[in-house]
């Protein structure tokens, strides 16, 4: 297989390396877009920053201010609520000393919860007593009462709060404290209503230092309008400061509270830096003075502008080179403290917050960029990978490195692209393979063409024919080797230019011209080559290319040999024709179907028919009737086996002579080995056959007897005595070889001691014509003389008269005599030993024995000698007197019939007086010499056998008698039985009649009673009389069935066939059973084909049968139903009754139709019945020519089916016996 040059499918150019990769393009493109978007976004953000900063600052300030305000309002509110609570607990005349412990015990729990309150106290107007709850820490407090003792001494009593009541801890001497001088008391007294004090300093005691604070003071005014006392709720401003501290931050700013004093001053009362100080005992020990320059700057900036009407503005101010923003709000009400809440914040903070959000945005932007870049990279990868794969595959395709289909993955378009690529790949692959195959074919074609060319060349050079090609002008352009040998190189020449006689030149030129004109020319010419006439057969044909003649092609073949052979054949045919015409043999040609086709003169002579008479006739016309079969066989053998070349048969001539003919038949076949006919040569051999047959037959016989004879034979010529032939035996006897003696004389061979003996023999021959039993001696060579008996006879053998001499060896005869004697002795021994008597006797009435064997003694009791020649007794006298005549007659009949054999049995009288049976077999022999007949035979004792036979005979006779006796007895018994049966049937018929009479009144009365016709019955009577009626009806059914059966069995059942409509019968059955089926709630269905069939039968009996079956079906079915189905069956009908009842067990089916059978005892108890129904049905159906069968499955149901003939009176048995 050749390699195929691979075509470059793609131009071998490479993509320039500076081109951007797909991946990079996607990546940078995406990145560019993202960056541009971010730049735009950044610019927009920067533009908005300022406004945003203002908004942010306002929002932050407002938020903080709101928180502070909420806290302050809450503080104030809770103090005011506490004040109201206290007032409610205060009696109208104010708290007395005795009330303190009770009232404060009530207030204590709430105070404990309100950690912001520092004190809660009550000061009495009249006494100056004071009771207060005082807080040490968030959870720890005490009650301190300033009061007078009974003796009027002022003292301070401290109480601890334990389990809901105050316990006196200690009493201290009065410390001169008078609450009525305190600012809160004075404020309340002046206002005569609940009032807030300005900030003042709470008095220090042993627990705490002085702290600034405010008090909510509630005056207690009695109904008369007199001031009874004042409640105070106090908290120090540190509490507020602590709160502000939690909300302050140097960066994000802080809040503080200013108080508008009565003198118009603004006092800082709360500031984040104004904190409580705790000592080691966790007790408040006073505060720190705060000097906040920012507050000062704020106040300066806000000078004259502090109006509560503009809260939540961001007011800018500057301090120490830094921009601040501030916001403030006045809380104030009619009764509240006049406080200003303010918040300040460095502007840089808002900017920082903004920066923070900006950097967040930047961070976010970076993150987005990163994600986008990754996404772009992934996308680029996603797009690039399949593209790359496609590229690799395409490269593979271009380089033809076994391209594989690209795996289809990635986005839809790429997948489609890959699919398209794969399709292209497949088609390219197919195309490539096709190209490959085409290339191979092309190579093969080229190879074959080369081979053809080579062959053509070989043909041209070696062909035993001349081949030439001419162009359109008739000039030779090609010539084969043969042609070159004939004409030399004739290429470029025309025929006229060849070295040829002008006639041939003209002929060949004409051939070429005719071929160029489109004709195919062929013919023969003779050329003189080397002095020998050589014949050429030639064909010249046009060469056509695309329908145009482009030249002429010629072929010439040397046919000289063929011509010579043809000439020879022609001559030989002529000779053969001459032979055939003159032959004495008939020559007949036959067609394949044995019809005469040709009939020569000799045939006319032999058969007498002329050719015109014979031709066209069937070949058997020359065959006599007797031979036709054989001839047909010969013909068929000829045709089939192409055999049977030579045949003898008889033929018949025109004038009716039968002649013997010898036929030589040759089967003629065509080139396909098909028989086209037979050619026969016929010779009339009638005369020859006659003589020849006789001669050949006798000669054959003679030769056979001569050579095979056991006697020595010699054949000599009468004329000169020379030996013509000797047989084997002669050669053996005379101890010579056949070939040594032929052609010589017996004298020469010294066979005779005395030649005179031969002369004497010859004389006797002359005298008698033959020599018989002439005894003489012969002298074989080198051995003892042989005594022979010579016979001689003259025989004509061919043209010569010959003498046939037979020598019988006398010594052999002696031996034969000895052998005979031996044989006779053996025979006699055998005979004497035989268990019977062999005899020979004369054929007379005395049975005169001429010989009896020793067996006679045993057989008869007499010695053979006593019997022979009737010496003591004649054999006839021994034959039983009753058999004597028969034996004689049978013997004479056999002898008269032609010496036939005879054989018989008879009795003889033994010498002992005993009678014996014998069997004799013998034959009569006619003795020509005496002219009398001799009987020869054998007699044997068969007494034993005879006795046995008699015994058997006797036995047989007695047996026959016994059988006859028994038969007689049986016949009598049968008659008696028949009579009894008849009597029984008669009795049954009568009985049933007699039974019906009383039953009539039983059934009638019980029915009447049951229906109440004779007056109403009670239930029990009703039931009982119903049972009587049922039982009577059952009895009636039984009687009816019995009656029917007895009629059938006695043959007295009469049938009354009429045309019956099956539909009516089945409807009547259904109607009859309707009460029972509806009572048992069973489905009952009847199917009748349409139109309803009619048939000729006994309506009553048919009704009885179907009713019986359907009644049984209903009776034995508790659930489901009964289906009666009628179908046509041939001319007749099939009626099936199918139920869903208890069914029948398989073992019970066989006895179902027997009389008095009801399947099992338990069923009998439940279902009353006679057990006769089915038996009766079958019997009735037998009468109607029908048939019944049953199919059943225990527990599933039964199906009884009957068939009925179209006409019961013709199809069935005759019901009338």
């Amino acid at each position: 297989m050749g390699q195929v040059a691979r075509l470059p499918l793609v131009p071998a150019s490479r993509v320039q390396p500076h081109r951007q990769s797909f991946r990079r393009l996607v990546l940078f493109g995406t990145l560019g877009v993202v960056l541009a978007a971010m730049g735009l976004f950044g610019g927009l953000m920067e533009h908005q920053t300022r406004e945003l900063a203002g908004d942010l600052a306002r929002s932050l300030l407002g938020q903080k201010l709101g928180q502070v305000r909420a806290r302050v309002t809450e503080l104030l509110g809770s103090a005011e609520r506490q004040g109201r609570t206290c007032l409610q607990l205060t009696p109208p005349g104010g708290l007395k000393e005795s009330d303190y412990l009770r009232v404060f015990a009530q207030l204590a729990p709430a105070f404990m919860q309100q950690a912001e309150f520092t004190y809660l106290g009550y000061a009495a107007e009249q006494t100056g007593d004071y009771a207060m709850l005082e807080r040490f820490s968030e959870r720890d407090f005490r009650l301190r009462i300033y009061a007078s003792t009974a003796s009027g001494v002022r003292e301070i009593r401290d109480y601890r709060f334990e389990r809901g009541e105050f316990v006196l801890v200690k009493t201290n001497p009065w410390d001169q404290y008078d609450p009525r001088a305190r600012p809160f008391y004075l404020a309340a007294k002046a206002a005569r209503r609940p009032v807030w004090t300005q900030t003042y300093v709470f008095r220090a005691n042993e627990h705490r230092a002085e702290v600034p604070g405010v008090t909510h003071a509630v005056p207690v005014i009695d109904p008369s309008g007199a001031l009874q006392g004042v409640w105070d709720v106090d908290f120090d401003t540190y509490a507020l400061a602590d709160f502000l501290k939690t909300k302050s931050d140097p960066q994000s700013g802080y809040a503080f509270v200013l108080e508008e004093r009565d003198d118009g001053e603004r006092m800082l009362i709360a500031h984040p830096d104004l904190t409580k100080v705790m000592d080691e005992r966790r007790q408040l020990v006073g505060g720190r003075q705060v000097r906040d320059p920012v507050v000062g700057a704020f106040l300066n900036a806000m000078k004259g502008q502090l109006r509560p009407s503009r809260p939540r503005e961001a007011h800018p101010f500057e301090w120490a080179g830094e921009d601040y923003l501030s916001s403030y709000e006045a809380i104030g009400s009619d009764h509240g403290p006049a406080w200003l809440l303010a918040v300040v914040m460095p502007r840089s903070y808002a900017a920082a917050r903004l920066d923070e959000s900006r950097s967040l945005a930047l961070l976010f932007g970076l993150g987005v960029t990163a994600v986008v870049v990754l996404l772009a990279a992934w996308l680029a990868g996603l797009l690039a990978t399949p593209v790359e794969r496609l590229r690799v595959a395409a490269d593979g395709l271009a380089e033809d490195s076994d391209p594989q289909p690209v795996k289809v993955e990635g986005p839809y378009e790429l997948a489609r692209l890959a699919e398209a690529f794969n399709t292209m790949l497949a088609s390219v692959e197919v195309r490539r393979r096709e190209l490959l195959a085409a290339n191979l074919r092309l190579q093969e074609e080229v190879r074959q063409r080369r081979q053809r060319e080579a062959e053509l060349e070989a043909v041209f050079s070696n062909a035993p024919v001349g081949i030439w090609v001419t162009d359109l002008t008739g000039r030779y352009t090609l010539q084969s080797e043969r042609l070159r040998e004939r004409f030399g190189d004739c290429r470029g020449k025309t025929p006229e230019e060849l070295d040829l006689p002008p006639a041939l030149q003209e002929q060949y030129s004409l051939n070429n011209r005719r071929a160029l004109a489109g004709e195919v020319v062929h013919g023969e010419t003779a050329e003189n080559i080397g002095g020998v006439a050589t014949y050429f057969h030639w064909i010249v044909a046009p060469i056509r290319m695309g329908g145009l003649v482009t030249g002429a092609l010629g072929v010439s073949i040397d046919v000289s040999e063929r011509r010579r052979a043809e000439d020879a054949l022609l001559r030989s045919q002529q000779r053969l024709r001459l032979h055939l015409e003159n032959t004495p043999m008939a020559v007949i040609d036959w067609s394949a179907d044995f019809t005469v086709l040709s009939w020569n003169a000799a045939a006319e002579t032999i058969f007498g028919w002329t050719a015109s008479e014979a031709i066209g006739r069937h070949g058997l016309f020359v065959v006599p009737e007797a031979e036709r079969g054989a001839v047909r066989e010969v013909w068929s053998e000829l045709v089939q086996r192409r055999g049977g070349f030579r045949n003898y048969n008889q033929n018949v001539t025109h004038d009716g002579r039968v002649i013997d003919c010898e036929w030589y038949n040759t089967v003629l076949t065509d080139e396909h080995d098909q028989i086209i006919g037979v050619s026969s040569l016929v010779l009339d051999v009638s005369e020859r056959i006659g003589a020849e047959t006789l001669y050949r037959e006798s000669e054959e016989r003679f030769i056979k007897s001569f050579s095979d004879s056991s006697a020595a034979k010699l054949l000599t010529r009468r004329v000169d005595g020379r030996i013509v032939d000797v047989n084997k035996r002669f050669a053996q006897v005379m101890n010579c070889r056949r070939e040594d003696v032929i052609g010589r004389t017996t004298i020469e061979l010294n066979f005779w001691r005395d030649p005179a003996e031969r002369t004497q023999l010859m004389n006797r021959l002359e005298r008698d014509g033959e020599v018989r039993d002439y005894e003489c001696k012969l002298y074989p060579r080198n051995s003892a003389p042989v005594e022979v008996v010579v016979s001689m006879v003259a025989v004509p053998l061919g043209a010569d008269l010959c003498l046939l001499t037979t020598f019988v060896d006398d010594s052999e005869r002696q031996a034969a005599v000895r052998a005979l004697q031996e044989s006779q002795r053996f025979m006699s021994t055998l005979i004497s030993r035989l268990p019977g008597m062999v005899y020979r006797c004369r054929n007379d009435e005395e049975w005169t024995m001429t010989f009896v064997s020793d067996g006679a003694k045993e057989l008869t009791g007499y010695e053979p000698a006593e019997i022979e020649h009737n010496r003591l007794v004649s054999f006839a006298s021994l034959i039983h007197v009753d058999d004597r005549a028969r034996v004689w007659q049978e013997t004479q009949r056999a002898v008269a019939a032609g010496m036939g054999e005879f054989s018989y049995e008879y009795r003889i009288l033994h010498r002992s007086g005993e009678v014996r049976w014998v069997w004799e077999r013998g034959e009569g022999r006619y003795d020509a010499e005496s002219g009398a007949t001799t009987l020869i035979g054998f007699v044997t004792d068969i007494t034993e056998r005879k006795l046995a036979e008699e015994e058997v005979l006797k036995l047989n006779l007695s047996l026959e008698k016994r059988v006859a006796d028994r038969t007689g007895e049986l016949a009598a018994a049968n008659d008696k039985l028949k009579e009894l049966d008849r009597l029984k049937s008669e009795f049954l018929a009568t009985m049933s009649h007699e039974l019906r009479t009383p039953l009539n009144s039983i059934i009638g009365f019980s029915a009447l009673l049951h229906r109440g016709a004779a007056g109403a019955l009670n239930d029990e009577q009703q039931k009982q009389i119903g049972l009587v009626n049922n039982s009577a009806r059952h009895l009636l059914t039984l009687i009816n069935d019995l009656l029917d059966l007895s009629r059938i069995e006695s043959g007295r059942m009469e049938l009354f066939p009429e045309e019956v409509s099956i539909g009516d019968v089945l409807a009547e059955v259904e109607a009859t059973l309707a009460p029972m089926t509806s009572h048992k709630n069973l489905r009952y269905t009847t199917f009748v084909p349409s139109p309803p069939p009619r048939l000729v039968t006994d309506r009553k009996r048919l009704f009885q049968i179907v009713l019986n079956l359907a009644n049984n079906a209903v009776k034995f079915t508790e659930q489901g139903g009964v289906t009666v189905d009628c179908t046509r069956l041939g001319d007749g009908l099939r009626i099936s009754v199918q139920d869903t009842g208890i069914g029948i067990k398989p073992e019970h089916l066989p006895m179902l139709f027997e009389a008095f059978r009801q399947i099992d005892g338990s069923a009998r108890r439940v279902y009353e019945g006679t057990g006769l129904g089915l038996h009766l049905c079958r019997k009735l159906l037998d009468l109607l020519g029908g048939h019944i069968e049953v199919r059943s499955e225990a527990g599933r149901g039964s199906c009884f089916a009957i068939t009925l003939p179209a006409n019961a009176s013709s199809g069935g048995k005759d019901g009338v016996a």
Binding site: A989, S992, H993, E994, R996, T997, P998, L999, N1000, S1001, I1002, I1003, G1004, F1005, A1007, L1008, R1011, A1013, A1014, A1032, L1036, N1040, L1043, R1047, E1054, F1056
Partner: protein
């Protein structure tokens, strides 16, 4: 006017039964216990219907009916065989003699009456 029925029956129980049934059905019943008596009564009384048992002493039902049919007075009287002879031959014989119907014993009393009414309602007996 009540229809008159001659009941010919030798069995006493059956006679009683038939009489009971017939009277309840509204017939006048005449009685005969053998064929001879039946012929005499039938010809003398000319009932509307004769119910004839077939097997009877002295003269059987066949003979009696033949005689009734033979007389001019009895020619038109319907005679119904009421018998326990169940042989098909008996039925054929009865039809041949000229019985109007053939009722087999034992019979159902209601059925019995229906059969008689059917015979009586035939135009020939009117």
């Amino acid at each position: 006017m009540k229809a008159r029925v001659l009941l010919v029956e030798d069995n006493e129980a059956n006679r009683y039964l038939a009489t009971f049934v017939l009277e309840r059905a509204g017939y006048d019943v005449l009685h005969a216990s053998n064929g001879r008596e039946a012929v005499r009564l039938a010809l003398a009384e000319r009932p509307h219907l004769v119910l004839m048992d077939l097997e009877m002493p002295e003269m059987d039902g066949y003979e009696a009916t033949t005689l009734i049919r033979a007389a001019a007075e009895g020619r038109d009287i319907p005679v119904v065989a009421v018998t326990s002879l169940a042989h098909a031959g008996d039925r054929a014989k009865a039809r041949a003699i000229g019985f109007s119907d053939y009722i087999e014993k034992p019979y159902d009393p209601e059925d019995f009456v229906r059969r008689l009414q059917r015979v009586l309602s035939r135009p020939s007996s009117a």
